[in-house]
């Protein structure tokens, strides 16, 4: 290793290269955590989706809707938890290893989008499996969960809704982790509210999830065209990304001794 004087151009090239490497590393770490553990999650729901109707059939019963709806409810919260844990694990080593908050954000965003797409595809596959199984058992199948008016495109709309919802929940989970680090317990808890609002909004936009049920139960929402719902969900996704960046950009690692 021979130390040299560096020109401005060399400096800029170096900075761009290390930024790209840092983004890839965060995306790989957070993405692999959510995909590997997510595979277990979806594997369990695949077993449940297939086993529950067979058990009910064996007992002589008939199901009105499948078990897959449980996955649709649980997947976003699962992603939120994984996002929180993954960021908690990686954020300090990332900064200590020379990464910036910006590279942390971009890598986390990429990971959230990849996880969203992967979970969305998994949800579509499970829906197809469940519908086929119901058909084979001679039962009538009805999709529970998403309330977007999608017609023949119900499968794609369901998958897209799940993908966007999962990505939003994951980004909000990571933002909550960053918020607590910077602001401590009390302010950090208060700052959960904007994130919570984003969760309510995306559930409302996709007409799926616990918050959509709660709003529907209060009679506050009606049917919504799929296009409008997904468009609104994408806007919420952008807001969730902005919220994560807002929290990461001010992240300070205070001396703890």
């Amino acid at each position: 290793m021979t130390a040299t004087t560096v020109t401005r151009a060399e400096r800029d090239t170096f900075a761009a290269r290390v930024h790209a490497r840092a983004v890839r590393r965060v995306a790989r770490y957070v993405g692999s955590v959510t995909l590997v553990i997510g595979a277990v999650f979806w594997g369990i729901f695949l077993v449940v989706t297939v086993a529950v109707p067979l058990i009910v059939r064996q007992a002589g019963g008939v199901m009105g809707g499948g078990a897959m709806t449980g996955a649709e409810y649980a997947a976003p919260w699962f992603a939120l938890s994984l996002g929180t844990i993954a960021l908690a694990t990686v954020v300090v080593p990332h900064l200590a290893a020379g990464g910036t908050r910006r590279s942390m954000f971009v890598g986390a965003l990429v990971a959230a989008l990849v996880a969203g797409v992967a979970y969305g595809v998994a949800a579509m596959l499970l829906l197809l499996v469940e519908r086929s199984l119901f058909g084979a058992l001679g039962w009538e199948w009805e999709q529970l969960g998403s309330g977007l008016d999608a017609g023949d495109a119900w499968l794609v709309v369901s998958g897209a809704g799940t993908a966007i919802g999962v990505a939003v929940y994951m980004l909000v989970g990571m933002a909550a982790q960053a918020t607590y680090r910077t602001n401590g317990v009390w302010r950090g808890t208060a700052l959960l509210l904007p994130g919570l609002a984003l969760l309510v909004l995306v559930d409302h936009a996709t007409r799926s999830g616990a918050f959509a049920d709660a709003l529907g139960g209060l009679g506050l929402v009606g049917d919504q065209p799929a296009g409008a719902g997904l468009l609104l969900a994408l806007v919420v996704l952008a807001l969730a990304a902005a919220w994560l960046w807002w929290q990461l950009r001010v992240l300070r690692l205070r001396p703890t001794r």
């Binding site: 290793m1 021979t2 130390a3 040299t4 004087t5 560096v6 401005r8 060399e10 400096r11 800029d12 170096f14 900075a15 761009a16 290390v18 930024h19 490497r21 840092a22 890839r24 590393r25 770490y29 694990t89 990686v90 300090v92 080593p93 990332h94 900064l95 200590a96 290893a97 020379g98 990464g99 910036t100 908050r101 910006r102 590279s103 607590y180 680090r181 602001n183 401590g184 317990v185 009390w186 950009r249 300070r252 690692l253 205070r254 001396p255 703890t256 001794r257």
Partner: protein
Amino acid sequence: MTPAPFGARLDDVVVRFGAQRRLTADGTAVKDEAGTALDGVTLDLRPGVITGVLGRNGAGKSTLLTLLAAFNRPTEGTVRVGAGDLLEDPWENPWVTANVQLVRESGDLMDDERVSETFKYYADLRPYWDADLAERLLDTFEVNPRKKPTALSRGKRSAVGATIGLAARAPLTILDEVYLGMDAPTRYAFYDEILADYAEHPRTILLSSHLVEEVERLFEDVVVLHRGKVLLAETAEEMQARGFSLTGPVAAVESLAGGRRELHRQRLGATVQVTLEGAPDGDTAAAARAAGVELGSLPLQDLFVRLTQPQQADGTSGAEVRR
């Protein structure tokens, strides 16, 4: 391409923290008090030397060091880090952060992953990471890389941090009390590794430690912080010229000491060692030799204690005396 060793400049830097209650990794709530960690710090850190950053608990050492690595940013003032004329704000600056390695006492490891996973992360981000050195140091410090940090003793965890600091080969390497928990043989092995690697791969090293006697031999420059301010920032040579020690029979030493200001005194039977302010003149040196009194250099620890002790007999603080 490895840039030249990095230096740094701080101008009128103030860092204030608000009170904060936070949760630790084990789930307990800890309250960090509000306060001013740094109060108008102006300081030049020379590139290419080992600088000791000293101060009592709460003096602002860790806060100062975190500014250089962009863990934090100042409330007021400016921080610039870089090589040659390219001194830049480190905050969100990948050129600077990739060339600055701060290792804190905690080691900043992935607690839920094996040590080897943390090292892979550092290897991917650190442009000059030396995997062979990392492996050899872990072997030297007897750390099993397949263990998770939570399964390591405090000393082993510190050794992992020390390994990261050296293997990163960053042009500015900052080691903030990384020795904590290490036993004496490990600490001395660590100091030897610092010197050996520094000689082979010159860079700037900032070393913060409370074990002043152990590490002073490493220092080329010394910065002493006290209550958020810089008390002293100079070369080790200049610092040593601030005083000297006399060791020998009590009567002879008392005679030679004369009316000089005494920084420290230690007596063992008929022998006494006193540390005195100022430089010995030729007459004193000759008289010391004639009287069988050993003339020694100023122990940094004595000066440090004197500078930072809360109250002198005359009612002034060590800092006021110095200034």
